[in-house]
Amino acid sequence: MFLHLTTGDKERLKTNLDVHIDHIRDSGVREAIRLIKLWRVRNGLKAKTFVLELLVVKLLQGKKGVAVAEQLKHLWTEFRDNTENLSVEDPANPSGNDLKPILDEMRWSLSAVARTTLTSLEALGWEAVFGRVEEDDDGGRGARVNILRSAVHIARPTKPWLREE
């Protein structure tokens, strides 16, 4: 099959989706892949899923048995410190498809966001990276009450408006 490209010299890549699916499924690091994709969304990164997944699988070779937390730290450290050397190959067409242009588009953003993430992780822990874990014993009432209490502490609140088009 062909994947359409919006950047680079070629207009499309010749690849095989089944090979990709198998490559990811058999990687042994699907949890890390899921979390990196969540991290991507939470940080507004425009990183192509296809290439990001291949990158994670490649960087975690030999680390399948490691705890997910350590896998993630390893990934972010690589993104931050080894930016220029990051590379991936299409498992379905390794010599035919050059994924470098796609990776180049996201390389420095990955590095910058990874840097901030590692700093936040060190200073504030995992909740700063992936958000608060909901403790829903009270049906969320505690969280709602907390939000309401927040309003009292706002010194100069502003009111929303709506410009009519």
């Binding site: 969304v41 939470r42 940080n43 507004g44 990164l45 425009k46 953003s109 910058a112 966001v113 901030t116 993430t117 700093t119 936040s120 909740e127 700063a128 990276v129 958000g131 608060r132 969280a143 709602r144 907390n146 939000i147 309401l148 209490r149 927040s150 309003a151 009292v152 502490h153 706002i154 100069r156 609140p157 502003t158 009111k159 929303p160 408006w161 709506l162 410009r163 009519e164 088009e165």
Partner: protein, 219 residues
């Protein structure tokens, strides 16, 4: 955005206040994307929204353009979001109170933007806006100036807005308050004070919105 020092200042402010919100410069367009935190009374993250914040080329004269992109807030008027997804975080005429032109980006994040999303969280739970809300469009502009100028006259409000929108004002002009005196013998200080607070472009736009039913004051 043409000024590198502004870009760096915004990056610093984001890093300090919202570490999951990042400034991306793509094709000369500057946009912050990621997760905006709503903070609880002890500064803890109490809620979060996925957002984009476009930093306009005429920042900080123009306000950042905010969109919630996580699909949590419907793009409807009752949630103060336009059909194109743009959130009306605050009335531009009122920005001098919380985020005046030239203020650091951090003041936008910690001030109007935080109030907006905190308000959205509370509205979700209670159906009420914790800090109130301005009516939409023209009515909201009038409400604001009725409060600020302590008048209910649309004509008077339009008159003051007209004066704020001028490049300069002349003391011999008729005072917009309608008491029949010259400006220099009446509300000159009030007009000058307004001119410091409200940018001429904003006043001009609000005047145009109102002038459908008001005429410009006599000179």
């Amino acid at each position: 955005m043409r000024e590198p020092h502004l870009v760096e200042a915004i990056r610093d402010d984001l890093g300090r206040h919202c570490p999951s919100l990042h400034l991306y410069i793509e094709k000369e367009k500057a946009e912050a994307r990621g997760t905006f935190p709503v903070r609880g009374p002890e500064g803890e993250v109490a809620d979060e929204y996925l957002v984009t914040i476009e930093v306009p080329s005429r920042y900080s004269e123009d306000l950042p353009v905010v969109r919630e992109v996580g699909g949590r807030i419907p793009w409807t008027a009752d949630r103060h979001v336009n059909a194109n997804g743009e959130a009306c975080v605050l009335l531009p005429d009122a920005r001098w109170e919380s985020f005046p032109v030239g203020a650091p980006f951090l003041e936008f994040l910690a001030g109007p933007l935080h109030s907006f999303f905190l308000g959205q969280s509370i509205f979700e739970s209670t159906g009420k806006w914790p800090f109130g809300e301005w009516s939409h469009g023209r009515r909201g502009i009038l409400e604001y100036y009725e409060m600020l100028l302590e008048t209910e006259s649309t004509e008077v409000i339009a008159g003051f807005l007209w004066m704020v929108s001028r490049r300069e004002v002349k003391g011999h002009w008729d005072c917009p308050c309608g008491r029949g005196k010259r400006l220099r013998n009446c509300c000159l200080e009030k007009v000058l004070d307004l001119r410091k607070k409200i940018p001429a472009r904003i006043a001009s736009r609000s005047f145009r919105v109102l002038e459908r039913s008001s005429a410009a004051p006599a000179r």
